[in-house]
């Protein structure tokens, strides 16, 4: 679990309620608290849990929104795109190939400055009809201007959903944001969550205001007219300008979150676990943090100084900060719950990004091993983590290791 500490003096004042809910339910509650105007839905496992919870909230009269069941994911994302341009706070989401089916709408949304907030229940890309977690679905939009974050607990899912609306709807940003929740491990398992009060949320999250980009009879504009080679490069540069400031905006929002809700996330971009005196670290995203942390505690009992870095934000990728943090270790092992066939070193996506960030941002050049693990919903086990740690220590000692290794694979 993330280190979520509520100072005692603040806890007294806040009338938070504790609830036993899944990651999907936590996001549904965040949508209610954020007073989302338009929700579109189309079922696909594991995302569908969130649409079920929201429809339940609507049916129970707890939430007032336009709840539209589209005829497919493409329409689902198109509808919220248009609603958002017209000034509605929106929510939608999908999983695996459903997310891919929406791809046309996903690709155009960043340039149109659409702050849609989505939940991706991470799922393997079919066929073979697999519905376990893999991160390639959400990662497919990593180059397109989307903001991408991975959470590892129901509490973090709820908090991040609120943060997501603040970041995405910031007038300096206004781009889509996807919150990734590992299928099954987070979407379907219930944890104890502190549910903030509506007053807190009201204080934290101002109404959505897209200024002069609002499509409205009182603000007559034309959105997405024909643009050819005379315009597209400038349009891309405008989106690029957003990426230059996103890290700063995220820092601001987390600081304010901490002040209002009292929960402290520290560095917004990545969580460090037992890294202070570590010789080597593992790095990964999502719910693999649980077995990794358990294994680390076990290994530390045996005197092995290993730590863990859990990446929260993949886009923006806080390259310089990550490189600065990682340069102090003797070796790094990146655990990818994804694949990137044919990539440099045939590594996963995260390992490739980490190596790239370190090439320019790090003062040292420790070995960066890539591990492909836990694909298709397979468990990342404590023994798997022990195996990976052993390999990273070998690399730290200067013993050559393959740059990419598959862990937990039947040979």
């Amino acid at each position: 679990m993330a280190t979520l500490t509520v100072p005692v003096e603040k806890r007294k004042k806040i009338q938070e309620q504790e609830a036993l809910i899944t990651g999907a339910e936590a996001i549904a509650i965040a949508c209610k608290l954020a007073n989302v105007d338009v929700v579109t839905a189309y079922p696909i496992r594991p995302y569908d849990t969130v649409m079920q919870y929201i429809s339940q909230l609507v049916a129970d009269g707890e939430m007032d929104c336009e709840y539209i069941v589209a005829e497919g994911e493409h329409s689902q994302f198109e509808i919220v795109k248009h609603a958002s341009v017209c000034g509605a706070r929106v929510f939608c989401g999908s999983s695996g190939v459903g997310w891919m089916y929406a791809m046309e709408a996903l690709t155009v949304s960043p340039a149109l400055r659409v702050p849609m907030v989505c939940m991706v229940g991470n799922r393997a890309l079919d066929d073979p009809g697999a519905f376990g977690v893999e991160h390639n679905d959400a990662l497919a939009v990593r180059d397109l201007g989307w903001l991408l974050t991975w959470v590892d607990s129901a509490q973090e899912a709820l908090d991040t959903a609120l943060i997501a609306y603040r970041v995405a709807e910031d007038q300096r940003i206004l781009v889509p944001l996807a919150i990734s929740c590992d299928g099954a491990f987070l979407t379907h398992s219930q944890g104890l969550v502190k549910v903030p009060t509506p007053e807190q949320v009201k204080k934290f999250l101002p109404p959505y205001n897209r200024g002069n980009l609002l499509l409205h009879p009182d603000n007559v504009i034309s959105v997405a007219p024909q643009a050819n080679e005379d315009w597209v490069m400038e349009i891309r540069r405008q989106n690029y300008a957003i990426t230059e400031i996103t890290c700063d905006v995220i820092r601001e929002v987390y600081a304010e979150f901490e002040e209002i809700f009292g929960r402290k996330y520290g560095n917004p971009f990545f969580e460090e676990y037992m890294t202070e005196d570590a010789d080597v670290v593992l790095l990964g995203m999502g719910t693999m943090s649980t077995p990794v942390k358990v294994a680390i505690r076990k290994l530390r009992e045996q005197g092995q100084k290993v730590g863990f870095v859990r990446l929260r934000w993949f886009r923006p990728f806080a390259g310089p900060e990550i490189a600065k943090s990682l340069e102090r270790f003797k070796a790094i092992g990146v655990i990818d719950r994804d694949f990137s066939f044919g990539s440099p070193n045939l590594s996963g996506v995260v390992a490739t990004e980490v190596r790239s960030a370190m090439y320019t941002g790090a003062a040292t050049r420790p070995p960066v091993l890539g591990f492909i693990c836990g694909l298709g919903g397979r468990e990342v086990t404590v023994p798997d983590v022990e195996t990976m740690t052993e390999k990273v220590f070998q690399a730290a000692k200067g013993k050559a290791q393959p740059l990419t290794q598959w862990i937990g694979l039947r040979s």
Binding site: I221, P225, N228, D230, E234, I235, Q238
Partner: protein
């Protein structure tokens, strides 16, 4: 570096797209018969699949590979030796879907280069519309109406090979007539087409156009803003609503003129324009309602005046008008400005109605007009006449 040649074809999408391609292919293949190398391509930024849009095709030819590569190392040739205009109404200038405003047809023509226009008009008539420029050039006419040859269902009127014959005459360094003839015999396998090309070659004569000769109209252009000045979110500000305006004679204010985008006019797409009889107009509103580009102003009189900078000449107004000869589509080559017809009518009714009477005689009866044509079968009927003109030269 060896010698580099470039020829551009300005044509109307979509009807002349294949014709333009056939000509630029023919240029490369004829030059190939003399051992030269070349490429043929259409400008991608145009929308050549769209009805009437001015578009361009190019042929680039060189003696050796490196010179050809130098010619290809740019999106399109900035300077061409020959410009061919396949529809003389394009002489008013071309505004494609790229944002550069209105360009004269000789925009890319080298000083001293040859402008070839397929037209039934003569030089003085064409120079009323072709814009003047600083550098001299040559103007040659290939007698003929705007051709649709190359469209799947229409018969071949030999415009492609006639233009090739003319290029051999205008730019003998590119290829000889013999190379054109060999290309026609080898690839097109038509003795008749070879004869048409020969006739065009023999009869073509270009005349010098002096600096400053031609249409003095100032072309509208457009400065593209930088990324920091552009509106965000792929959005553009809407036009203001517009409103009533004044009668130029009485000063009465009324009617409604919508605001229009001053930066993107599109009227160079037009090959025929509506001519309106304000006297017989019953104010039924149909032209105004049906115009897909909101090109009609409601005049203070309550009649409908077409804004000729906005109209792209689709002819829907003529189709829906219930009054005989109240809206008539007339070929664009009859006109030399975009002034308001209603203002002319208000200033001198009799003169306007007299002008109207003679002008609309040039309109074809609408009958059963197929889209883009005046009536079904018109083009097939015109082919023998076109061939006869071709034979006469």
């Amino acid at each position: 570096m060896g010698q580099l040649f470039a020829v551009e074809i300005i044509y109307r999408g979509v009807f002349q797209k294949t014709l333009a391609k056939n000509i630029t292919r023919g240029i490369v293949l004829a030059a190939r018969n003399q051992g030269k190398l070349g490429i043929s391509f259409g400008r991608y930024g145009d929308s050549p699949e769209r009805n009437g849009i001015p578009a361009k095709s190019f042929a680039i030819v060189a003696n050796d590979e490196q010179t050809l590569e130098a010619g290809m190392a740019q999106y399109e040739p900035k300077q061409v030796d020959v410009t061919v205009v396949l529809d003389d109404t394009l002489c008013k200038g071309a505004e494609s879907w790229a944002w550069y405003g209105l360009q004269p047809v000789h925009h890319a023509l080298k000083p001293g280069g040859t402008l070839v226009v397929v037209s039934l008009e003569d030089k003085p008539a064409l120079l009323k519309t072709i814009h003047k420029r600083e550098e001299p050039y040559k103007l040659g006419i290939v007698k003929g109406a705007a051709s649709f040859s190359g469209m799947w269902v229409f018969k071949d009127d030999h415009t492609d090979v006639r233009v090739l014959g003319v290029i051999a005459k205008a730019l003998p360094e590119l290829f000889s007539f013999k190379s054109v003839e060999d290309y026609i015999n080898d690839k097109l396998k038509s003795g008749l087409k070879a004869t048409s090309a020969r006739n065009a070659y023999d009869r073509f004569a270009a005349v010098e156009v002096k600096p400053g000769e031609g249409n003095p109209e100032k072309l509208f252009n457009y400065n593209l803003p930088g990324w920091q000045k552009m509106r965000d979110g792929v959005s553009i500000a809407g036009q203001p609503q517009g409103g009533p305006y004044a009668d130029p004679v009485t000063g009465n204010v009324g009617g409604f003129r919508p605001a229009r985008n001053e930066l993107f006019k599109k009227y160079s797409t037009r090959t025929m324009r509506p001519v309106v009889n304000f006297k017989t107009c019953t104010k039924c509103t149909l032209c105004w309602l049906n115009c897909p580009d909101a090109s009609f102003d409601v005049t203070p009189d309550g009649t409908y005046d077409v804004n000729l900078e906005s109209c792209c000449g689709c002819g829907v107004c003529e189709q829906v008008c219930p009054v005989k000869d109240c809206v008539s589509m007339v070929n664009e080559s009859e006109f030399h400005d975009n002034h308001s017809q209603w203002e002319a009518f208000k200033k001198d009714q009799d003169a306007y109605l007299k002008w109207l009477e003679t002008t609309i005689q040039k309109a074809e009866p609408i009958g059963e007009r197929a889209h883009g044509f005046r009536y079904r079968g018109q083009y097939q009927e015109e082919v023998p006449e076109a061939l006869e003109i071709a034979a006469r030269g």
